[in-house]
């Protein structure tokens, strides 16, 4: 099942710089997208979401961009902070059902 793909499994970034995480999807029925952050031994924590009627959503340091024609979304974190060091999951759901399809996750390490 490769409906949601996150390549580049790990990312290291200097504190204060921008972190950019990418996510691609194949299912054209997906219309709602979410990013979750996960620390070891904890459950995924919701960060930000976007519906397919928008191409950008911003919440504080987090911005999600959606390019429907390319079936691509990205998460920008700026400025990155050491507490942002975690695994980030992209997830999506399709109209008519509530199940989330997850990507494999990206490990982000923010270097102080």
């Amino acid at each position: 099942d490769q409906q949601v793909k996150q390549n580049s499994p790990s990312l290291s970034v200097q504190e204060g710089r921008i972190s950019i995480l990418n996510c691609d999807y194949t299912n054209s029925m997906f219309d709602y997208f979410l990013w979750y952050k996960k620390y070891p031994a904890e459950g995924p924590t919701f960060l930000i979401s976007i519906s397919s009627i928008k191409d950008k959503n911003e919440d504080g340091r987090f911005t999600v961009f959606l390019n429907k024609s390319a079936k691509h979304l990205s998460l920008h974190i700026v400025p990155s902070q050491p507490g942002d060091s975690a695994v980030y999951f992209c997830a999506a759901s399709a109209y008519g059902n509530n199940r989330l399809a997850f990507g494999k996750g990206n490990q982000v390490v923010v270097i102080p």
Binding site: F46, N98, K104
Partner: protein, 113 residues
């Protein structure tokens, strides 16, 4: 801030035994979910539950699995006869509406020996 809680945090069981994983969703939420993550793999959807019945289930959720909301607060996942490949982290989640954000619990790590 309201949160989803899960018990136990860890469970070790013998193959063939029954296990029950428990969850307390956020109190005003109406939709409940179970997901699992096998080590090194993606988080996978198992089942969603609304209005006291299963609304969706994945191909993973076979006859060995069942869910129940035994009272107004708990939501349980039962695995009747565990297999080695059931070893995983099991996450419960809840949402207020079906297409709204799902909030996850901390997970139960299940190890089947």
């Amino acid at each position: 801030e309201p949160e989803v809680t899960q018990t136990p945090s860890h469970q070790v069981t013998q193959m063939g035994q029954e296990v029950i994983l428990r969850c307390v969703p956020i109190s005003n939420h109406l939709y409940f979910y179970w997901y699992r993550q096998i080590l090194g793999q993606k988080v996978e959807f198992l089942v969603s539950f609304y209005n006291n019945e299963i609304s969706e289930k994945s191909e993973i959720f076979d006859d060995q699995f069942s869910v129940e909301r035994p009272d107004g607060s708990n939501f349980t996942l039962k695995i009747r006869s565990t297999k080695l490949e059931d070893s995983a982290m099991y996450f419960c989640a809840s949402s207020n509406e079906g297409r709204e954000t799902q909030y996850f619990g901390p997970g139960t790590r299940l190890l089947v020996l």
